[in-house]
Subunit: 363 residues, 2 copies
Amino acid sequence: MTPHGTLETPVFMNVATQAAIKGGLSASDLKAVGCQIALCNTYHLHLRPGEETVRKLGGLHGFMGWDKPMLTDSGGFQVFSLARLRKISEEGVSFASHLDGRRIFLSPESAAEIQLKLGADIFMALDECVENPAPYEYVKQSAERTARWLERTANFLDHQRATEDGRPYGESVGWGINQGGTYDDLRVDHMKRIAELDMPGYAVGGLAVGEETSVMYHILDVVGEHMPPDKPRYLMGVGTPENIIEAVARGIDFFDCVMPARNARHGRLYTWEGRMNLLNERYKEDDRPVDATCSCPLCKNHTRAYLRHLFKAGEILALRLAVLHNLTFYNTLMQKIRDNIENGTFAAFRKRYAGVLDGRAAP
Amino acid sequence: MTPHGTLETPVFMNVATQAAIKGGLSASDLKAVGCQIALCNTYHLHLRPGEETVRKLGGLHGFMGWDKPMLTDSGGFQVFSLARLRKISEEGVSFASHLDGRRIFLSPESAAEIQLKLGADIFMALDECVENPAPYEYVKQSAERTARWLERTANFLDHQRATEDGRPYGESVGWGINQGGTYDDLRVDHMKRIAELDMPGYAVGGLAVGEETSVMYHILDVVGEHMPPDKPRYLMGVGTPENIIEAVARGIDFFDCVMPARNARHGRLYTWEGRMNLLNERYKEDDRPVDATCSCPLCKNHTRAYLRHLFKAGEILALRLAVLHNLTFYNTLMQKIRDNIENGTFAAFRKRYAGVLDGRAAP
């Protein structure tokens, strides 16, 4: 339940980094592909056009024309992956914009405030995302700092709500992020500590950043036991179709990933028989749809041969049609997961598609 | 009347160079912007994916999913503007592909055959498009050759229809193209000569290629008197909204131009008060639609500020929304022209918008 409606979980959040889906999709296209909740990036929008501009234009909902739920990330991940000349301290993180080198400082408080101004229904607390593997001592200190940052985030929000008239930022809620690298004890200690803050939702961050998939699943098993049982759980930045099914089996409710749109833009399309590379010569005169069972505009109206031609000819319609398809696939995947959970057939579903969805489709 | 339906003229043909509209528009988007007839490019499609592939996939209609009328150009214009190492002879034109340097030969017969295989409803005879200004003697010889090429095109088509079973290329018709540069006598002589061939339609080519607009209008006046009065007239590659209104006043029925889509991709949008440059800083927080009277997806759903943000952020959604708008504008312009002609108010309409549509909109 968010200010912009209710969500059916497990759910995949469709990533609109700069208040638009890469590949030329608008908010109305998002509805057409079955998206329930969009995710926008604080780092990018803070740099351009800036949260004050977005706020004047009706927040992200008004700005991009999206009237359903919206989550923003904290910007932390991008600060640690995109920005330059990064300097982290107890107070926050200072960095140079990757666009123009401008010096920017982000604290737990300012990260929260930016997201509130952007108008997120759900915002994420600032954390440090450490690449795996990293030294135990560094991860320990970083996770402790991330926990203190979450405390400050919670205090900031309480303070805002207590002091300002009429809750100027509406019903937005902030979620905390579990860190601790690949170390079971750090993960568990951190999770226990942030659970005490009684945030309305919790994410697991710092996964799918260098470690083996089996390690990611292990961490989910270990941390899952200590996550509040009645609150939504979000696995950040994950992942492949099979990653998602496996994480759902481990209790995860929310996902986001740039992979379906990025793969689409490179001609890699998901089907229920595995991934297809549409740039392949074999599709040159293939008059079948990419996936005969799919209801997206690409599969309804066009052939594999036409899509391949568009890629080869450098037409951006290729990107658009491919992204429409892959996002439809991901949102359909989530619908199937929900249906199978409801029907008590999730175990069979999981088994049916293991080793299939992340592999290559037969020609 | 074409094999794929009837057209209301005057009409603007929306340009789908490589069987797709630049800016990420599909055939279904073309319908949404009010397009009656699409135009594809023989030169580009011959190079990639090749007419045999297109033919196997149902011709251009099946290939791109477009079920309304379709015109293809002859490839001549691109041979003379894009290709390299061009060598023209009585037989035809030899050139190197701009993609891979492959040597290609195009004759009046092969240009027609390629277009028939592509499945055009209306195809254009091969001509030489000479840039203006050019020496009188060269233009004279070139125009005479273009006339002889049209004769060969007509003979080829007759031969095809007489010898092959069941008219394998359906009801496609070929139109002739008037040339003669900026020389009144050459234009008139050429027009008289090709009129004798009794083609079902005639185009005026070789305009808007370097000469002043007033010269173009003058040539239309001069040639118009000698065009068959009962056959459609097509002004190739023209033009601005005011060019189109002026050419309609001179009896032209068909237009095509890459300008609306190209301008859109550079942030220049047409409105009934003139052109706007959406990259301009002044639109940063402008919460109005580009044109409140427009029914395109951009104007219905988004603000000027959002479109500007998309351009600044490098999102291809910017290109798509802007192209959707400009093509809607052009197709609406043609609708208004038709309505005003029907209502007997075209003269007032022409006067009302003279000096407005091609100028800059007030801030």
